[in-house]
């Protein structure tokens, strides 16, 4: 069992490294990627490599102005309601990330003209983890996170 985990872990880190290398080598052009579905970002195994693939950088600044509404305890990890509200102007994208999911990037909302800094959706979470919201506004990236406890097995935690 321990060995199995080690195997998966190794595989995961190799894959993430490969994505990172591809990005830095300029094989993937992150700015154009948003036009099409960014498979590298959604397949990335870590938060940083997902952000690298999606935005071209993972230099995020934590901000207490972003508010995440999600349950403290989610009894059903398959349906976790998450709302993100951000007060910034000129918001480009709002991304929702479940930190400990196998592929952390869950959704990226690209806001057009006139859109407010608010999105709400429902996501799947594999286990207890932080839900991270990354807001890109005016060329800078801000983030906030909130822990959601996921109880598996339906004992109601």
């Amino acid at each position: 069992m321990i060995n199995m985990k080690r195997r998966t872990f190794l595989k995961g880190s190799v894959a993430a490294g490969a994505v990172g290398a591809a990005v830095s080598a300029g094989l993937l052009t992150p700015r154009v990627v948003l036009a099409a579905w960014p498979s590298a970002a959604f397949e990335a195994k870590s938060v940083d490599s997902a952000l690298d693939a999606l935005m071209g950088s993972h230099a995020v600044e934590s901000s207490d102005k972003i508010s995440i509404r999600a349950p403290d305890i989610a009894e059903n990890g398959a349906v976790v309601p998450v709302s993100v509200t951000a007060p910034m102007s000129n918001i480009d994208t709002i991304s929702i990330i479940a930190e400990k999911n196998a592929a952390p990037l869950t959704a990226a909302f690209k806001l057009g003209k006139g859109a407010e800094g608010y999105v709400s959706t429902r996501i799947k979470m594999g286990k207890t983890s932080n839900v991270i919201a990354v807001v890109k506004a005016g060329g800078k990236m801000y983030s906030a996170s909130k822990e959601v406890k996921v109880t598996i097995g339906g004992c109601g935690g």
Partner: protein, 103 residues
């Protein structure tokens, strides 16, 4: 088959859009209980929303968005009676769209 339910409500100068889409959102990691085989990944990759033909929001989704996805967002600049179009495309190339009036 209409797979989308949508509502666009104008309050003051702000329009709130709420949409529900019927879709299995299979991750490709779950086994079919009867056959023991993996159910292939089948999930929505992109949701587009246009107001009178101008894009107001594009959502890029991974397989970790819940089954039968719910989506809500807000924007400014719509008038009552404007046409809002929402469309989705999944990883198998299937798609659907719906039009509604802002009210």
């Amino acid at each position: 088959m209409a797979t989308i339910k949508i509502r666009a409500k104008l309050q003051g100068d702000e329009t709130t859009v709420k949409a529900l889409i019927q879709h299995p959102m299979d991750t490709g990691q779950v086994k079919d209980k009867k056959t023991g085989k993996l159910i292939p990944a089948h999930f929505i990759q992109e949701v587009n929303c246009e107001l009178n033909g101008t894009n107001v929001m594009t959502a890029l989704w991974g397989p970790a968005v819940s089954k039968n996805p719910y989506l809500s967002f807000k924007f400014k600049g719509a008038k009552s009676g404007d046409t809002l179009k929402l469309s989705w495309v999944d990883n198998k190339g299937e798609s659907d769209s719906i039009e509604t009036q802002v009210s």
